[in-house]
């Protein structure tokens, strides 16, 4: 059974025209080591944000990181090499860039992968180009970028750990299920927004 590959194209609120993002999700990825090596080698054909889906709670969580990266790009406040590495760094709640790559970026053991490609006004990339290239280089099954899929891939324990939201006395979350998930999400968003300023 073959299905057409998924690739979602977005624009976000309060950004100038010309900023467009393409997002794809893959499961059962078998060549994460190769993909990570392309980033480490600085292969220009692989300018993507490769995010480990195990630490992404929802579409909103990822879009928040993209938005932060684009705002920092626009205002000349990026801390990492390019807008794609900045997306990965923007998921972090602290200023340690290499740690953010280890925690949120692709690693050789990544099996569920989110890929973000940003089309900038100065460097436009079409949806078809991205889709064609990703289909060629990623060994894995393309799935929809939606909350249902991401919810099945996320490891909430890991999320709590990397955002320092572990149980204990914090997180007096009363509501169960969806409410609890939403609560975790807004705490994560707050952590990202206050990156480097302490919580």
């Amino acid at each position: 059974m073959t299905t057409t590959p998924h690739l979602q194209t977005f624009t976000l609120e309060h950004l100038p025209p010309g900023y467009v993002m393409h997002v794809a999700v893959y499961e059962n990825v078998r060549n994460a080591g190769f993909l990570q090596k392309q980033l480490l080698d600085g292969n220009e054909g692989f300018e993507y944000a490769f995010v480990d889906a195990g630490v992404v709670l929802s579409t909103t969580h990822l879009l928040a990181a993209i938005y932060r990266a684009l705002r920092d790009f626009q205002s000349g406040r990026m801390k990492s090499r390019n807008v794609h590495s900045e997306v990965v760094f923007s998921l972090s709640s602290n200023n340690n860039i290499s740690e953010s790559f280890r925690r949120f970026g692709i690693t050789p053991s990544t099996t569920n992968l989110i890929v973000v490609k940003i089309s900038l006004p100065s460097k436009q990339v079409s949806r078809d180009e991205v889709l064609k290239h990703l289909t060629e280089v990623i060994e894995g099954e393309s799935v929809d970028f939606c909350d249902e899929v991401l919810g099945g891939m996320v490891d909430e324990k890991r999320v709590r750990k990397v955002y320092k939201l572990g149980g204990g006395k914090s997180g007096i979350v009363q509501s169960k299920g969806e409410g609890e998930k939403r609560e975790l999400e807004v705490l994560v968003l707050g952590g990202m927004a206050l990156r480097g300023f302490g919580g």
Binding site: E13, H14, I172, L189, G190, G191, A193, F197, G199
Partner: protein, 294 residues
């Protein structure tokens, strides 16, 4: 408001300046935060305080509502000082909100901020501020009560039930404030305009229950942490309560008698709350400010 020439029969006193239509003070353009400069439609201004403007807008996608609090730079302030103050205040408010939310205190979540541009983006809270809800409720009760002034009103039970609703609300406020104090935050400006009543999302489940007026139903959410600080001093906590008590007294005198319900719930909300209630008695005696004498 139209500018009309006075009737010719009445001489205009020479010392009164005629209104100058080129400077309508009420419609002076507000400084728009730079984040909005690319938006096709201007954002909706909700309210305006001395230091900040509050807009209703969207976060990431058109479907996600949010509030944006903007602190424009003050023309009378030195720009470097102004930038430092703005940065400090934006970050302070964001940290306090994030801490509260993490600890389970009902406040809006933080979505984003830009300390240089001077804005803070937070969760949009549905519902209405308590001041409006409470006045609406008190007015409705007053209107209803008129024919019931007779002795042994057959509907006396209903009045009692109404008070029960108010008691419940006061208790919820006391718990929310106590929870905030319990995690080491003082609000700094607790008024009935800085408390919101958010309709419960599962209101269909209990539809029809009660006497039908759900004006005071809903979850109490604390808002506007612009003057908040991290403190566990009983003095600061007691001043928070005192300010709230005065707010009830001045804007809802008919609900003031119920403040004891609020304090009772507060007293049970965290360890050490009773010491704060003791301190409140001192603060009542002397007012909000400490004496500078001796």
């Amino acid at each position: 408001m139209s500018v009309q020439a006075p009737p010719a029969a009445i001489p205009t006193p020479s010392h009164i300046e005629p209104p100058n239509p080129s400077h309508p003070a009420s419609t002076s353009p507000l400084p728009l935060p730079p984040i909005f400069q690319h938006d096709p439609a201007p954002p909706q201004l909700i309210t305006q305080g001395a230091e900040a403007l509050l807009y209703r807008t969207t976060y990431l996608l058109p479907s996600i509502q949010c509030a944006l609090k903007y602190r424009p730079s003050k023309p009378y302030r030195h720009p470097i000082l102004g930038a430092r103050l703005t940065k400090h205040r934006i970050l302070s408010e964001a940290r306090v909100l994030a801490k509260c939310r993490k600890e389970g205190v009902p406040v809006p979540a933080v979505y984003g901020l830009d300390e240089r541009e001077g804005w803070l983006m937070i969760e949009w809270i549905a519902g209405e501020v308590l001041r409006i809800k409470l006045n609406e409720w008190l007015k409705q009760r007053k209107d209803e009560k008129v024919p019931e002034e007779r002795e042994n009103a057959p509907d006396g039970g209903r009045i009692h039930e109404g008070l029960h609703v108010l008691k419940g609300l006061m208790g919820r406020i006391g718990s929310a404030v106590g929870r905030m104090h319990g995690v080491g935050i003082v609000h700094g400006d607790l008024t009935t305009s800085n408390l919101m009543l958010r309709p419960r999302s599962n209101d269909t489940a209990e539809g029809g229950a009660g006497d039908g007026d759900g004006i005071l139903d809903g979850e109490v959410i604390l808002i506007d942490f612009g003057l908040a600080s991290q403190s566990t001093a009983d003095e600061d906590r007691a001043v928070d309560l005192y300010v709230l008590e005065r707010a009830f007294g001045s804007t809802h005198p008919r609900a003031e008698g119920m403040f004891s319900e609020l304090l009772a719930a507060y007293g049970k909300s965290f360890k050490g709350a009773n010491i704060v209630l003791k301190k409140l008695e001192d603060v009542r005696m002397r007012g909000r400010k400490r004496s500078m004498l001796g």
